[in-house]
């Protein structure tokens, strides 16, 4: 069954006002919220039950993470600007913004790599204590999502752009939906950063 013969893949259904992929991506994002929500719930329970709990600054590099926060927020802006460029049918501007978004993702991962290796160098690992366990797990899973999103974005800047020639609307929607995922990744970090590093 060719994708084109399934209605409302690109154009919105009149009574719901949305197309299929948009519904699908929001459903997926809801499940991601529950996934990270469970990890936040674990953090709450573990911290509440612990006799002592270290302040983030005891183990973590706050300045580096603050930079990372700005990097990710900036990448959210460039991502939505990439989509807006396509809405204006400006593919040159799209390429610049998408490229910046990918770059920001790589910078984020690079800084995380620096953070992690700094810790391992000092013999700090997930097994050391519960704080580090939940820190590595939550930021690790988050970093995996940053990586995944960056891979998708790279595809949309590279071979994926062929779709623009065949179906501009569909490609623009794809970028929008990839953007929704990317913004969620940013949103999760917006909560992760203060909770793990600053409390």
């Amino acid at each position: 069954m060719s994708v084109e013969s399934i209605p409302y893949t690109v154009e919105p259904r009149p009574d719901t006002g949305v197309n299929n992929v948009k519904v699908g991506i929001w459903l997926f994002l809801s499940s991601e919220v529950m996934l990270f929500g469970a990890l936040f719930a674990s953090y709450i329970l573990l911290r509440h039950g612990a006799p002592t709990w270290p302040h983030g600054s005891e183990y973590l590099n706050i300045p580096l993470a603050t930079v990372n926060t700005f990097v990710l927020i900036a990448s959210s802006v460039t991502m939505v600007m990439a989509w807006a460029s396509l809405m204006k049918r400006d593919t040159r501007q799209y390429r610049i913004y998408m490229g910046l978004t990918i770059l920001a993702g790589l910078i984020f991962l690079g800084i995380k790599y620096v953070e992690y290796s700094e810790k391992f160098h000092h013999g700090l690992a997930p097994r050391t204590n519960t704080f580090l366990a939940i820190y590595f797990t939550m930021t690790g899973l988050h970093a995996l999502h940053v990586f995944g999103g960056t891979v998708v974005n790279t595809y949309l800047l590279g071979p994926g752009m062929k779709l623009w020639e065949r179906n501009q609307a569909q490609f623009t929607n794809r970028v929008e939906n990839a953007g929704l995922f990317w913004h969620l990744v940013d949103l999760i970090w917006i909560f992760l950063f203060p909770i793990l590093y600053l409390l």
Binding site: S5, G24, S31, M34, L39, S42, R127, A133, T137
Partner: protein, 596 residues
């Protein structure tokens, strides 16, 4: 847009892409059905094996030595193997059997047809969801051959035990993550399809109840599975990376203090696990309720009683199922306030369940019932599910749960719902939709033999569990209660249950034979042998790629049977034309007796 019935490229597709990696929801539905039926049979076999040990503790099973020294030396079951059988029976039945059959099998095949769609919204995602399920199943099966065998910490995988268990446990966790991912893909597909691909005229309140049931089920899977995925990941970290998410400080194993950081919480696992596992039980029952509703409407030749009540109850169940989970945890040391809260929500959620059951019972009133095989299974479903549901009440009340928790009463309760409950509905669904999938009917006589024998043996297996549980016999006991004084009077029931279980196994043989033989030798029928009203019966049997010759339009509610004054006793949803007889229905005169 190309015409719907036309297979554009299937002629040029290789066997691999057309049948193995097909993106057609019907092929995927059949793949799910066959795979899950095989897993159900395997999971059932594990239990039949386990029941030998319970009926005759410590005695050798003839030919049991074939399973090897590590499992049944000299044919006598080792306790570790007993635990594997118990844990994997539950895991396989729930995650590899029932859910893939009711959601992946029935949902995939029937749903797009019932809403008049050419396929699911995301066909490739659908294909991925089946293969990830398949992979998860392979991982679970392979785990039996790992050193130490498969998972043996119960299907609930509670730490600290699960954290320190043998390698098979890690495989179990990986398998669960794969199965959860498969369900997630499916849920996204189902919800989007129902919202977006309904045929013109098919408003939400004209949907068959089966579709509503799948809709709510998909939301449960979407939002409840991720916390279990997270928990499984944390438990893998505990087992592999040495973390202590679930390991408390000062844990002693075999006389030694475990060398971990500690500070973890075993109760945390229970919260995350049951956050999924409670909605999961509604995932187990809702599609079955949907199937039962369809078959009852069709075989009573009447509209269902209380369509709106059914729909709102299903939605309410879906919502409430997320806030009752700690009734599985009444004995973890929670205080009265929190226990009272979860007890209250649990009592409240029983109300819509009763409403649904009542509506289905009331639908029988004044009906001319066709006692076909699917209808027999559905008629039995009603009281069986009733017993299952009612036996849940003392478990939902915290005070009585203190006595009944972790006894055989619990096992009896949930098996009544899932076995003569859900599985009966799934059998009914197979007999009912078989002619749509194959163009042939299954044999009625074999079907009736299958039904009556299964009904008798189901009760033979599960009713004694309620008795044993009330006597205080704990679950998961390797010797079935032999070493406990309070169990002595009810021990004989172990033999009754085991013989019933083996009888239940034999009772499936007519079904298995019937299923395969009818594919080739069943009576050939036209596209609507049951004279049903819903859209799937408009499509040819079997439906081609694209499902319908032309996109149907819906003109009326889903169960317009026996409309007064109309000639035929059913009005299909897709048929244009008057909903009422154009001549007024004659009023009864004085001489005619009043209708009873």
């Amino acid at each position: 847009m190309e015409s719907l019935g036309h297979s554009s490229h299937s002629d040029s597709q290789s066997f691999l892409w057309k049948y193995v990696f097909s993106t057609d929801h019907k092929v995927i539905g059949i793949q799910y059905t066959i795979t899950s039926l095989l897993f159900l049979l395997f999971g059932f076999t594990l239990m039949m094996l386990l029941r030998w040990q319970l009926a005759y503790p410590g005695s050798p099973l003839p030919l049991g030595w074939l399973l090897g020294e590590g499992r049944m030396p000299g044919g006598v079951m080792l306790p570790e193997f007993y635990n594997e059988l118990g844990a994997m029976h539950g895991t396989i039945m729930v995650f590899l059997g029932i859910v893939p059959l009711s959601v992946g099998g029935f949902g995939n095949y029937v749903l797009p047809l019932q809403i008049g769609a050419p396929d699911m919204a995301f066909p490739r995602l659908n294909m991925a969801s089946y293969w990830v399920y398949f992979l998860g199943g392979v991982v679970m099966l392979v785990s039996f051959f790992l050193p130490g065998g498969a998972a043996n910490s119960g299907w609930t995988s509670y730490p600290p035990l699960a954290d320190i268990a043998t390698t098979g446990q890690t495989a179990w966790l990986i398998g669960i993550i794969l199965l959860a991912t498969s369900s997630l893909f499916g849920a996204i597909n189902f919800i989007t399809t129902i919202i977006q691909l309904r045929a013109p005229g098919l408003s939400f309140m004209r949907l068959p109840f089966f579709v509503w049931a799948q809709f709510v089920t998909a939301f449960l899977l979407l939002l409840a599975f991720p916390p279990l995925e997270a928990a499984a990941f944390l438990q893998i970290m505990d087992r592999v990376a040495g973390t202590s998410f679930f390991l408390p400080t000062g844990l002693v194993v075999s006389g030694q203090v475990v060398d971990v950081a500690g500070g973890g919480s075993p109760v945390l696992w229970q919260h995350l696990f049951w956050f999924l596992a409670h909605p999961e039980v509604y995932v187990l029952i809702l599609p079955a309720l949907g199937i039962t509703a369809e078959i009852i409407a069709n075989n009573t030749r009447k509209p269902l009683w209380g369509y709106r009540a059914l729909v709102y109850s299903a939605l309410f169940i879906g919502f409430m199922s997320f806030v009752v989970w700690a009734h599985h945890m009444f004995l973890t040391g929670m205080g009265t306030a929190i226990a009272a809260f979860f007890q209250a929500t649990t009592m409240i959620i029983s109300i819509p369940s009763v409403v649904i059951l009542t509506a289905l019972f009331l639908s029988l009133w004044g009906a001319s019932i066709r006692f076909t095989t699917p209808m027999l299974f559905c008629l039995a479903f009603l009281p069986m599910f009733g017993i299952g549901g009612l036996t849940g009440l003392p478990l939902g009340l915290a005070t009585t749960d203190i006595y009944l928790h972790d006894t055989y009463y619990v096992i009896g309760h949930f098996h009544y719902i899932v076995a003569p409950g859900t599985i009966f509905a799934l059998f009914a669904g197979i007999y009912y939709w078989f002619p749509k999938v194959t163009g042939r009917m299954m044999n009625e006589r074999l079907g009736k033999i299958h039904f009556w024998t299964s009904l008798v043996f189901m009760n033979g297996v599960f009713f004694p569990m309620l008795i044993q549980g009330m006597a205080g016999v704990s679950r998961r006991l390797y010797d079935g209660g032999t070493s406990y004084l309070h169990a002595q009077d009810v021990l004989y029931l172990n033999v009754v249950m085991s013989i019933s279980a083996w009888g239940l196994g034999l009772a499936q043989i007519p079904f298995i034979y019937n299923f395969f033989a009818s594919i080739k030798k069943g009576v050939a029928v036209d596209r609507n042998p049951w004279r049903a009203t819903t859209l799937e019966w408009l499509a040819p049997s079997p439906p081609p790629h694209g499902n319908f010759e032309a996109l149907p339009t819906v003109y009326r509610a889903p169960y317009e049977y026996s409309v007064p004054g109309m000639e035929a006793d059913f009005l299909p949803q897709h048929k244009p034309g008057p909903d009422r007889a154009t001549e007024p229905v004659p009023k009864p005169t004085q001489e005619q007796p009043a209708e009873t």
